[in-house]
Symmetry: C2
Subunit: 342 residues, 2 copies
């Protein structure tokens, strides 16, 4: 199993990412007309990103015995779809920045952001359909289902903003829809393109789904406990924005009545301040983190991730792929995503 060492993992993923970058370069909407529609699309796709979903799609295709290149249209479709959701979410969340650059609605205006987002979704479909006709029904039913679930997840996320508290299971369900199904689908669609059976493709979906959930737990843990220099976001941004995340719902789920009262009080105070536009007191944030520490959220988050990793390992190694040496690479990739510190 020489492929399990770190260098081999990197090299393989680099190959998939290069293929994705090549495919994205081919899109080139820099001169497409009308400019008002295509310039925002070109700008947004050019902001970069980890290209995680398309890379997973290509890897899954090859694991199943296909040629990665043959799943490139679907890989690009997944990346275009992901960017469509980000572009419209940025409007809904009133986000000023995306990857440290202006969001589309601030740079080009609301109308351009709505319309160029719509066009990205259509461009995603244009690429998803580039497959053998006999694959299209399953491929498109999968894509349609997931696309709709992502919308449902975004709606649930917005619904949560008006709530006092959110339970762990409903929060997991929301993240499952908003984030995890697309990671699951990236592996599943890649598997389907590579010729995997329905059972194997579904197992790959679960691998991606669980990775997506655990990835989010880590993201939310880093929000409070990450190294600000490495993580690249402001520390405790979710607390300051009074947003629900895994850490907050885990803490709530495991807190006693005194801790619950403290958390409620502090978050209400932040919400009140947020309405006034006044700066949030650093001590206020600190006092919430102290309750988190008392409850032991780090331990809780790590147990959560560890359980997911066990399930992911089982799913991957129970299966037989055309290229079994990829199992370790895929698992290593999942581990690195879930344990990343930036």
């Amino acid at each position: 199993m020489s492929h399990t060492n770190k260098q081999a993992i990197t090299l393989d993923l680099d190959r998939f990412r290069s293929l994705v970058d090549y495919g994205l370069k081919e899109l080139d909407w820099s001169v497409a007309q009308p400019t008002g529609l295509y310039a925002p699309m070109d700008y947004f796709m050019g902001l970069g990103g980890k290209r995680l979903r398309p890379a997973l799609c290509l890897m899954a295709c090859e694991m199943a015995g296909g040629v990665a290149q043959s799943a490139l249209p679907q890989a690009l479709a997944l990346e275009l779809f992901h960017n469509f959701t980000l572009l419209h979410d940025d409007i809904m969340d009133e986000s000023p920045l995306r990857r440290n650059q202006s969001t589309v609605h601030l740079r080009y205006g609301l109308n351009a952001a709505i319309l160029s987002g719509d066009a990205l979704l259509i461009e995603a479909y244009s690429r998803m359909v580039q497959a053998k006709p006999e694959l299209l029904p399953d491929l498109l039913n999968e894509f349609n289902r997931v696309a709709l679930q992502v919308c449902q997840g975004q709606q649930l996320d917005m619904d949560f903003q008006g709530r006092e508290e959110v339970g762990l299971s409903e929060y997991s369900e929301m993240i499952g829809l908003k984030t995890a199904v697309l990671l699951g689908s990236s592996l599943k669609i890649g598997s389907m393109m590579g010729g995997a059976s329905a059972v194997d493709s579904q197992a790959m979906f679960k691998v991606g789904y669980l990775t997506g959930l655990a990835f989010q737990v880590q993201d939310d843990w880093l929000d409070v406990y990450g190294d600000p220099g490495r993580f690249g976001k402001q520390i405790a941004g979710d607390i300051k924005a009074c947003k629900f995340n895994f850490l907050r719902v885990l803490a709530w789920e495991h807190s006693n009545s005194v801790q619950k009262q403290l958390l409620s009080q502090r978050f209400s105070e932040i919400k009140r301040l947020d309405g006034t536009g006044l700066e949030i007191n650093h001590e206020l944030v600190k006092s919430i983190v102290m309750v988190y520490d008392q409850i032991g959220v780090t331990q809780l988050a790590f147990e959560f991730k560890s359980n997911y990793l066990k399930a992911i390992h089982k799913l991957i190694f129970e299966q037989n792929f055309a290229h079994n040496h990829y199992r370790s690479i895929l698992y290593g990739y999942c581990v690195s995503l879930i344990n990343r510190d930036f």
Copy 2:
């Protein structure tokens, strides 16, 4: 040709419309979760409409020798897509009313309008793919192309708003993209579902495309010269909103330098007043209509429509369909759309 009489036409269209209404009733999102996503979709689809595109799709399917029912998913897809474009266009145009009811962004808020529009587009795709696998590549390439063109048309329309004048050919191109291609595609997709050849389906596309252009000419003529009681919109709404339409670009195209100066001056004045929020002087609108009359825009619009109708007649009667008696019904339908007075 007993089917050419008016009663037969009505009866046939009624049958297609009933099928569409039945299909739309099946959608029923009134209890779907999350409510925040589905209630706006349910509301918007419930506002009604002529259901023109799905009816054309079903008729084309039957003309080509298919069973209308078999094209119902595609017919619904076209109606869902049309409603997606209306819902997002209403945001972009800041329209308060759609079919005399509140628009979605005013009733449910901006975020709900963006997200439920996105979901309508995905629901459209979910239905478009319900066809035999061997039909899917052509069907989806057609749908993707048209979907993107509609976005391009909407962008061009918005680009025009900032302009001083717009030429007839570029205005036709914009309406072609924004409106006419979807009518063309409704006939084309129906034909494809009914088993028509590529050549015949493309001829049907042209029938729909030309009908769409002529339909818009009539719509714009009615805006000024229609019976307000029957037409159901405020008279000269486009002039008062300083919007370009076919009448305005036809008038400009055929005006002499004195008339051009008059039109420019009056429209600038309206634009200026629009910015201040002051009511637009009725005399100002009247003076523009007087220049229109002088130029003879009614005659120009009627020639325009008449040329299109000739081309449509030729296209329809040059073809051989599985059910040739439908040719007269289709032509009669196109005529009634293009000459409608409400």
